[in-house]
Amino acid sequence: MSFDLKDGRIVIVGASLAGLRAAETLREKGFTGSLTLVGEEPELPYDRPPLSKAVLLGRAGAEDCGLPGRRSLDAHWRLGVRATGLDPEARRLLLADGEQLPYDRLLIATGTRARPWPNPEEAALDGVLTLRTSQDAARLARLLDARPHRVLVVGAGFTGSEIASACRERGLDVTVVERGRAPLIGALGGTVGAWAIRLQRAHGVDLRCGVTVTALLGRNGRLSGAELSDGSRIDAEVAVVCLGAVRNTEWLADSGLAAGPRGVACDAGCRVFTMYGIVTDDVFVAGDVARFPHPLFEYQLIALEHWGNAIAQAEVAAHNMVSPGPRRRPHLAVPSFWSSQFGLNIKSVGVPTFSDQVILAQGSPGERRLVAVYGYRGRITAAVTVDRAKWLEHYRHLIETAAPFPPGPGAADHLAGQEPVPSDVPDPRVLSHGPTVALTGHLPDWRLTLLRPAG
């Protein structure tokens, strides 16, 4: 049995971070069979986080973000071609060019794409774009190089906020329009959101919250500005649409797998479920496209758009693809995420949206250092630090050990007089950008129940 598992045909769909790391791990674990990576993008795997940071600041070229290979893969690369379907019974992957790839085990790592601007005509205007791929980033960097008079950022999640930060650092005027009450509120809740409002304004961002863009305006096929729901109008030459991500699962529509808009559901070992909730043993999933149960979050199926999760999950999936049952490992890593914006380093551990309360535990918001700790029903479930990443390890430990919330007294640099307040994680539906951490299943925050349509 175990000999078989190290041999045979493995196909990986999606040749980005998760796909590459899984391929490397398969070889590390002694897989000697044939390995094929299918990727829609023509480029070899590259890293996305710099695309909204260093690349927009001109510190790195969009084409310089290639992911370093950790080992030689001896793999077949099928780049620039899309997978269009799956026949799980015949174990064949269908490609857009008509080819059919047979496999013994399959890994789905198709990630997400940027949610497009809903009006296709407006989206087609010159100067309107989204940011997900290196080509997007190259285009946006070129547009910023031309020093537009104003950039419009639609949606103030992490990507939108990072773009706004890059614009300000380059001395460009930028307007950020966010439907929610604050930037980052979908991922980090109201308390950190309120802090982010002050941060952005202090850096000269023209921030408009509680407002939506109702139309992008064009002149001769070029973007000229936008109309907002409060009746105002702004002029802008560039608009970056940052409305969150869409999971790349359409190609699995007829596969009989549990794949849909929320992702591809799997068990703790990354094995994909069928639509009837029966676990498969030859189809695995990892990265942004996966929904997986996490014991720290009550076994709800969570989906994370996190660089670190893509790697950790890919490694577990690959391990399990070549290991017999009792040797298989669960994917239990505590989620963590980072972002850099406005000269600050924001990091999180745990799942901040899985919370009912939050407390500012350490730091000094005025001096740009902060530790916010999140709790759910009396235990610590997440922490967010601003320029204080060194404390994350401690809070990770508290999350893992289900330590009581709020954390006890005595921390160095603690913020005096703080009390827990509702974490104020809004219903994702009121946000214009998708939350970066999507807790699918029921959301613990009571505000969600308030939003249920009244009888």
Partner: protein, 408 residues
Amino acid sequence: MSTDTLFRRITDYANRPDPYPLYAELREHGVARQEDGAFLVGTYDEITALLHDPRVSSDVRNRDDAEELLAGEDPAAPRSFIALDDPEHDRLRRLAMRRFGPPHTPGRIDALRQDITAIAEDLARGLGEKQHIDIVDDFAFPLPVAVICRLLGVPGEDVPQVHEWADAVVAGLDFSPEEEPAERRRTALQARQAMGVYLGELARTRRERPTGDLLSQLANEDGPDGRLTDGELMSTATLLLIAGHETTVNLITNGVLTLGRHPEALQRLCDDPELMPRAVEELLRFEPPVQFLPQRTPLADIEVAGVTVPKGAPLILVLASGNRDPLRFPEPDRFRPDREDNQHLGFGSGVHSCFGAPLARLETQIALTVLLRRLGSWRLLADPPEYRRSPVLRGPRHLPVERGGGVS
């Protein structure tokens, strides 16, 4: 024996050559309260967690017995960041790090490679054809001070004086509970002050006329965290000089001692010098120069492995014991120079983890490589060797070896 005397037994000079059985006893008991109210922790997971815990202070002013401990010190004198907590610790460490390593000055330590090699070769050449060598006096002892002086930009003619002060300061730490420490402490305090005054004056000169070295840069730093005050500059420079002195001496010496005891490992290293970086990591685990951290204090009652350590109590983290924890390291009592997954506590962990680690690593790797090449075959003349008094900065006072007759 009762565990509340463990600390007394660990610090007992008679146990200096081999404290490891006592550490095993400590781990058996998890957290051991001592007769004087101090708490000893010796298991890897607990030590690591405490070193990351914001409720654990490095500032002894938070001790219940602070007044006694600080007798004779000027309370207004600036403290070095090893003895401070967030946010002061963070600011001072960050300011110093800007000119020491990544992200702002990534090449600094690597640029010293040639200098260090030259200094080590020089010392090794000085051994000549001598038959009997004291690894401490003839080689390990002069090296780190020479290197840190080069880094800071202390002029060559002042190095002997700086060395003398550094020795006196370190001797002040070399306590044993039996003796009356006042005299030693007074000498140490004076040396520290003299060193501070000297470095302060040097820094003022460098402020006017920078010479490209670390001290010049620290003196003229104007980053987002502002500038170091004169007092902060003095205490930071003094810290850098002292922290890397005896620790590195001991690591090099412990390296020679350990290799003398493990001929197969020595042979492997001679055959395959590429193994040296990993061997140095294993040394930091197996015979760490800093055996325990005696300065921690909880800022609130905290629970450690089921025991409540009260606010203000002395909390002693026995790094050398964590390094031998079988729950973390397979075959912990074996010296395995090619050990994988070796996240030892030799440089501490968490927010105060060793600032100078990249330098110490490079220095020790170079020193041992040069020394082994120059020594030819050799053997230990005294095993165990005579140890220094300190149970914290534990290492041989002398390590006599004889050329010929041994391995390689």
